[in-house]
Symmetry: C2
Subunit: 139 residues, 2 copies
Amino acid sequence: MADQHELRDKGLRLTPQRELVLAAVRELGHATPEEVAEKVRQTHPGINLSTVYRNLETLENVGLVQHTHLGHGGATYHAAEELTHLHLVCGTCGSVGDAPIDVAANFVNALADDYGFKTDVTHFAVYGTCSACFTAESK
Amino acid sequence: MADQHELRDKGLRLTPQRELVLAAVRELGHATPEEVAEKVRQTHPGINLSTVYRNLETLENVGLVQHTHLGHGGATYHAAEELTHLHLVCGTCGSVGDAPIDVAANFVNALADDYGFKTDVTHFAVYGTCSACFTAESK
DNA sequence: GCCTAATTGCGAGTCACTTGCAGGTGTCAC
DNA sequence: GTGACACCTGCAAGTGACTCGCAATTAGGC
């Protein structure tokens, strides 16, 4: 696995726990540390929650995963290679939808041109109401 | 003050603490509950932190203030009448810049048309790197 | 001024991490 | 293959940011 290189280059190790955490993040798509821990425990029950937190942080430093804020405070983790979409968080039902980054391209460019602000599209959640909830509401 | 109507209409009271919390939010522009509490304590030292939290929630229900997630987990409160701008949060220096809602208009419309997703522009923080930090980084 | 329901203050509790530390283990040099 | 050492893990305790329950207080209608 190429992951090993990313870690070794920084003098870090590829431990079983670390592999499991990375695998869990990849499998879950987007998950909170708690969800990752739960997933990992299905195959390795003894793993400690603080180990999960530390590994998520380590993997993020190396660039294999990234986190996003989906509101409500908690961070959500993603495998870095899956970060090709925006997150549409529904404030009503709590669901998280996806949209391609392209939708935001104009917006990102406008912010860059007018404000010199370099937007990190992968890190931002869009808050609102999803179509299902909006339809239900307006009935 | 018109605020009183908003509250009384819902059978709520306008207490000194509530006025102070609202005044603090208006004066601070955007502030965390902790900052609001600190501000309020300058004029009314005895106020309890849980009172501040409860009042922020109450004022939000009434529509006089709103909260936004600026990353890092904590919610940030704003006076409702000041919510005419987006928040540009710099991940490097932590500063919070403003941009008019119009910048996002196309983006919001695109999401509405393509995904039926009704974006709550006032609730979303844009994460990235501000011009000052970006200039410093690329040196 | 009186009465009642909304509020407040306080202390305790919860949730989501974070930290310190001692023991374990992957890696590298030889 | 062996040994040394820095990196990791698990555990337990700690921290920050709220949230809750309850008795005492008080705003506001009558």
